[in-house]
Amino acid sequence: MVEISQNEARVLKTLIDSGGKAPIEDLAKKAGLADSAVARAVLNLSQSQLVKEKVEKKTELSLTDEGRTFALVGLPERIILLEVKNRGGRLSLREALQHSKLAEKYGSIATGWISRKKWGTIEKSGSDLVIVARSEAPIDDEEEILARLKNDILILEELPQVLKEAALRLTKRNLVESQARNDREVEITDAGRSIGTSEAARPEVSSLTGDMIVSGEWEKVKLRNYNVSSAVPRTFPGKYHPYLRFLRMVKRKLVALGFREAVGPLVETAFINCDCLYMPQDHPAREIHDLYYLKDPSRASLEEYGSLVDRVAQTHENGWKTGSTGWRYKFSRNEASKLILRSHGTALSVRTMLSKDLQIPGKYFAIARCFRPDMLDKTHLTEFNQAEGIVLDPGLNLPNLLGILEMFAKEVAGADKVRFKPDYFPFTEPSVELQAYREGFGWMEFGGSGIFRPEVTEPLGVKVPVLAWGLGIDRLYMMSRRIQDIRQLFTSDLEWIRDQTVG
């Protein structure tokens, strides 16, 4: 048995349906295949003697420019004859030419053909000729050819003998021209017919199964062809949330720079969040407009912090041993024990310094979810993330702080240049704001930083300078994704999330 492909089977079936033979260009159309696919199939089939390809020479006929004119107005002999008939059946050639507005040069052609076609007789009258029309002058073969060529081309070989001769006469008269061409026709052989018939009887299946592959059944069945260029249903891959992906990138950069990640609770005591950071207890940033307090439970025991509470209290009241005057008010342990939602990542830096695992020298960071009692709008979130961290070593100084900020600006924000401005935080002195410049984005505030006050570090038992920094990563993310509304960070718009590109 000859093995044939899907396309070959389809060509055979099309040939059978078309009565055994068809021009190759018709095959492509009828079989619904590309021209190239049909040409390949026909080549294979003819090598297997399932089809025969015949090339026939054909003569294609068409009108010349002159022929097109006469096809529209009639042949010169017909024009003159009609003129004669209209004027009594007998008329001089000069008069006939004059009335018909036919050019002089067609006079002899017209009289020649009138006489040859026996449409009338020509008599001599002095220097002029007189035409006498016969009553009968039917449409002749030449006129039929012209009429048919007006709308189509004709193949000489396909015409009946009389028309063939008429066409040749017209060719001689330069009214019709001919062009040779090769027509490829495909004809099915008997062998082809029998294979094509059995192929057509084979069942068509749409999906290929494992069983079919194992058993070889796939070769016997006919697999339905798919339209590979048409659309298919959309798939939505699982992906990271775009903002969380960005935070992961920031984490990787910081780890690469030698920072250890710290984590800590969202619910804090005012003690850790504020008091340990030397924020006086009546500081405006501790009011209910700036800090979320818990209703129930509202307080936590500070027992686990032991004597640290005393040291912090004394530092607030009179500076303790830090060399500071302190804030000079009566510290309230009750206020310190209030439960709040972490309002800044710096609370985590306090926890890091309190940790028994603290290493000096050390570099630490955290991406901390923080809370502030703001109404949600274009520029405010009530929950947001801060990237914060500390660097501890006996030899650290202000240029080191600037060095860290410069590194962050370049590594994390891709900044071209940086500059620094004095800043203020209750827990750092000196305090520095980082401004980063990026081509196409301009200057932006990218971070706040400083050296922790001795009033912060010494009660915690840390005796070395501690550089503290925070980065404006939310703004950086918004800038990089061209986001105008900060609420987009926590968006629940699944369509937008799905549409975000990865990378």
Binding site: F236, G238, Y243, L244, L257, D282, W327, R369, L402, I497
Partner: protein
């Protein structure tokens, strides 16, 4: 001075100011230093900039002499508002602009440094209309009357507190007391009802006022005295001459006070400390020059120590680091060369991050989209809509939005809220989140219990238990953990299609097909199945 925003920004950096707008001749700046009230008015900013830009010492602000005004304090003010400090500033006919600046300063000091007038509040009066001695005393709120600022008729103190706009704002500071503090002069004219309102007759200064009485009352002695120092120093910048008043107290110590005391405070600071903190190698001379630019007086330098004088209006200096920062600013911190600290440390991720990453990788591989939702939510979201009501939630004392009043104790409701916003989006929808959850702790020592959880939901026409269970099993197997699923009843899930997730017999999560009532309450119209599990149980410890 430069005329462009960039140039002005560089100048105002010396006073931690950000230029917010520049329109014609008007520059608006935000001063970030919330601890330096001496630069909260244009006069103070000008004084500070003069030092930084002029390169020399700033002019000392000092007292010119004693006024004749005496203030006698009644012991009955002690439990209400025990402290008062007064001064007279002479020789000023303020311009409209100056008046505006002082009113602004008064407002800022009252609001922040004076803690909304509780700790300290300021009053300005026409000194020439006032007769010594002043009496700071108390009065029956229903008997004593005067005409409050901005009004034309006399009212009792109580009427003023009840009807005047300032009464509504600050009345509560004194309204709890039986008698209220008042300030009366030698001719029995009422100057004011501190801290609420001044008299319209005496307590209104205009461009015609040559001599101004400044008075501060409050509950904190230091704040009261500092506030007065800052106000009179500001007025002195316009050419005012400061004269002291004598205050006599029946309590505390000392009992007789001359205020304001603008004499500088002495401080000594080690040069080696300055240089080690700033990474510099300044000489005594250089350090002294920068300190003077920052407004400090330099007395002498001996050994490693510089003796400095802190101007009276600098109420913010608590530690040497405050002075060192001022020296750094005077040097211009952009002149310091940034230097990456040369210490070697190995970076690493927190254990929790490693756990999150491995679980997120598997969930993403299973075709779930990661989402991010708020930890703050509402009881409607976290309980009602999911048909669950047991257990008290951790609640905020001061919520700002009714949609953010409690902390979530589980994630699934947040995920359903996300899905409810996306009913027009192509299904299937499969989402997950790894996030913090908060519930009440078992005791006083640990009143709060925080944990990280993972929740995942699948919603589509054919979503069901088998799909979600096989996703969960794939996760558990990939993490090398084994769990048991035992049938359970849960109001958010369909009875008979819900199981509790057990790890060594301990309940660590829930899995099942969602109850159609819960689905409907979120406006969803398709079957949904979900699981939620404690993150700590997904990793081998």
């Amino acid at each position: 001075m430069p005329r462009d925003k960039e140039g002005l920004n560089e100048i105002f950096a010396f006073v931690k100011g950000d230029v917010e707008s520049l329109e014609g001749d008007i520059v608006s700046i935000e001063v970030k230093d919330s601890n330096r009230p001496d630069i909260w008015a244009v006069e103070g900013i000008a004084r500070a900039l003069r030092g930084y830009l002029g390169g020399g010492r700033t002019k000392e602000v000092r007292v010119l002499g004693r006024s004749n005004l005496k203030v006698v304090i009644d012991k009955r003010v002690k439990p209400i508002r025990p402290f008062i400090s007064t001064a007279i500033v002479k020789g000023l006919r303020p311009t409209d602009e100056a008046l505006k600046s002082w009113i602004n300063l008064q407002e800022k000091l009252d609001q922040t440094y004076g803690r909304k007038r509780k700790r300290a509040s300021i009053g300005f009066y026409q000194a020439d209309l006032i007769q010594s001695p002043l009496s700071y005393t108390v009065a029956n709120p229903d008997i004593i009357t005067f005409t409050p600022l901005g009004s034309e008729k006399k009212q009792s103190l109580r009427e003023i507190v009840e009807s005047h706009p300032k009464g509504a704002e600050y009345g509560e500071i004194i309204s709890q007391f039986e008698s209220w503090p008042i300030l009366v002069d030698g001719a029995d004219n009422v100057l004011s009802l501190p801290p609420v309102i001044n008299s319209n007759d005496l307590g209104r200064i205009t461009t015609e006022t040559k001599n101004t009485l400044v008075e501060v009352t409050g509950t904190n002695s230091e704040t009261v005295h500092n506030t007065l120092k800052i106000v009179v120093s500001t007025l002195a910048e316009r050419g005012g001459k400061i004269y002291t008043c004598l205050e006599t107290y029946p309590y505390g110590s000392p009992r007789i006070l001359v205020s304001p005391n603008l004499s500088p405070t002495r401080a000594s600071i080690r040069l080696s400390y300055i240089n080690s903190l700033l990474g510099t190698s300044l000489t005594f001379k250089e350090a002294s020059r920068f300190a003077e630019r920052a407004g400090y007086g330099v007395r002498r330098a001996t050994g490693d120590t510089i003796q400095l004088e802190i101007p009276g209006y600098r109420t913010d200096i608590m530690h040497s680091v405050d002075i060192i920062e001022d020296i750094a600013i005077a040097m211009d911190i952009n002149e310091l060369k940034p230097e990456w600290p040369r210490i070697w440390t190995g970076g690493n991720f927190a254990k929790e991050t490693d756990e999150t990453e491995s679980v997120a990788e598997i969930m993403v591989g299973l075709g779930f989209q990661e989402v991010l939702t708020y930890a703050l939510t509402s009881p409607a979201v976290v309980s009602n809509k999911v048909q669950q009501s047991d257990g008290k939630l951790v609640e905020l004392l001061n919520p700002r939005m009714i949609t953010h009043t409690v902390l979530r104790r589980w994630l699934l409701p947040s995920l359903l809220e996300v899905l409810s916003h996306n009913t027009h989006v192509d299904y299937p929808q499969r989402i997950f989140e790894i996030g913090p959850c908060i519930s009440r702790g078992e005791n006083q020592i640990h009143p709060i219990q925080e944990s990280r959880k993972l929740a995942a939901v699948t919603v589509h026409a054919n979503a069901g238990f088998t799909e979600i269970r096989s996703s969960f099993d794939a996760l558990a197997e990939s993490k090398g953990r084994s769990f048991q699923i035992k049938e359970t009843e849960h109001p958010s899930f369909l009875s008979g299609r819900c199981g509790v997730i057990l790890s060594d017999g301990e309940e660590v999560g829930i899995i099942g097909e969602l109850n159609p009532r819960a689905i409907k309450s979120w406006g969803l119209n398709l079957p949904a199945a979900a699981f939620e599990v404690e993150m700590s149980n997904l990793s081998l410890t």
